[in-house]
Symmetry: C2
Subunit: 203 residues, 2 copies
Amino acid sequence: MGIAERKIRQKEEFRASILEAAWQQVISDGWQSLSIRKIADAIEYSIPVIYNHFENKEAILLEFTKEGFQKLADTLQLVKDQYTVPAEQLEAMAHAYWDFAFDHKEYYQLMFGLGIPACDRVNEIEELKYATSIMISTIKAAIEESNHPETDYFLKYHTYLSILHGLVSIQMIQKEGKPDASKKMILQDAVSGFIISINRSNC
Amino acid sequence: MGIAERKIRQKEEFRASILEAAWQQVISDGWQSLSIRKIADAIEYSIPVIYNHFENKEAILLEFTKEGFQKLADTLQLVKDQYTVPAEQLEAMAHAYWDFAFDHKEYYQLMFGLGIPACDRVNEIEELKYATSIMISTIKAAIEESNHPETDYFLKYHTYLSILHGLVSIQMIQKEGKPDASKKMILQDAVSGFIISINRSNC
DNA sequence: TACTTTTGTTAACGGTGTTAATAAAATTAT
DNA sequence: ATAATTTTATTAACACCGTTAACAAAAGTA
């Protein structure tokens, strides 16, 4: 009997239409302001019907998170396949990663739980500038002592901060509580590499 | 007349008590679940009284963000002053940064808008493992071709991902929209350094 | 004591996720 | 075709949320 099949198909379509409506919401107003009610409104059904297809709001967002990682993985694989030397692959994948993040901002923010606070105002925090200046002055000093005193210190500052923040936030996403001391090796590794990149001559 | 002074002092104290109650909420349940109503309840006043001291909820969180950056800056300065060689300062500051982040998790998450999704479940996403495996296999290959084939590939993978995520998320926090192409130099710089750190011999 | 300003309250508006009770439709069994 | 059953969808509510208008109470000033 084809009735069962049709029912499954309809259920599938319904589910897809929920995700479609939800995604429209996400890309137009960000995932923070996604609401079950707006989805219900968009698909022209009552609210509880959504709970027949998704356990809760988080489950809907999880769907997009998965989609995002799938897309990222596909992108990386595609780019990787265009090169044969591993070092070249790593470089190309890095650029692909960057492009993915900004071409699919909503996915990326969802995938890594970026709350994105007052994005515009964050640069106006005086205390942030203070912290920044401490790091920048040190970078400057390190560059002056190096073999390449003409190096762009602002670029290096950005790199330094990005490495630190990346290490911390990846760690925070993956584990609760303070990570064991062994995880600091990652930090040590990354920072050593960074410092060497400032100091190195053309060896 | 000392009345004005006392009033100012009382207002100050009231403001502080709001922040105190708010902070208790933040450290016990995370900044996501901070609510004006709970603060009002904690200080045993009605809700609107809070709006006499803070424009809105965001203003309260902004206060903690500032506090966080101030604390971070102080910590960095303190650590920096214990060394004289810039390279050593950078290394020590990196470790201090890491420690600060995990010793003051609530501050850090607020400062950098970390939404922290289903922290536990993120590792169970199959699509994430797929993306991970692509990167890891490349890192492995790069290490095998290098002068140090005994290098810990998992450590290097973590470093690689952290660098990428750090670059992206710092960029996303600071600016809306896709960053101009020049920002990719930071990426290029960091990735080059990383690849060199894999390939380098003991020069 | 009367007036004015500050401070605090109640009650509401519009929004959120979620769920119990119930009605309607569709399917199955008689 | 009718009755019983299962599936599906709706209404209405609960318990929250940030924010604000209208109003009462207290404190300070004249």
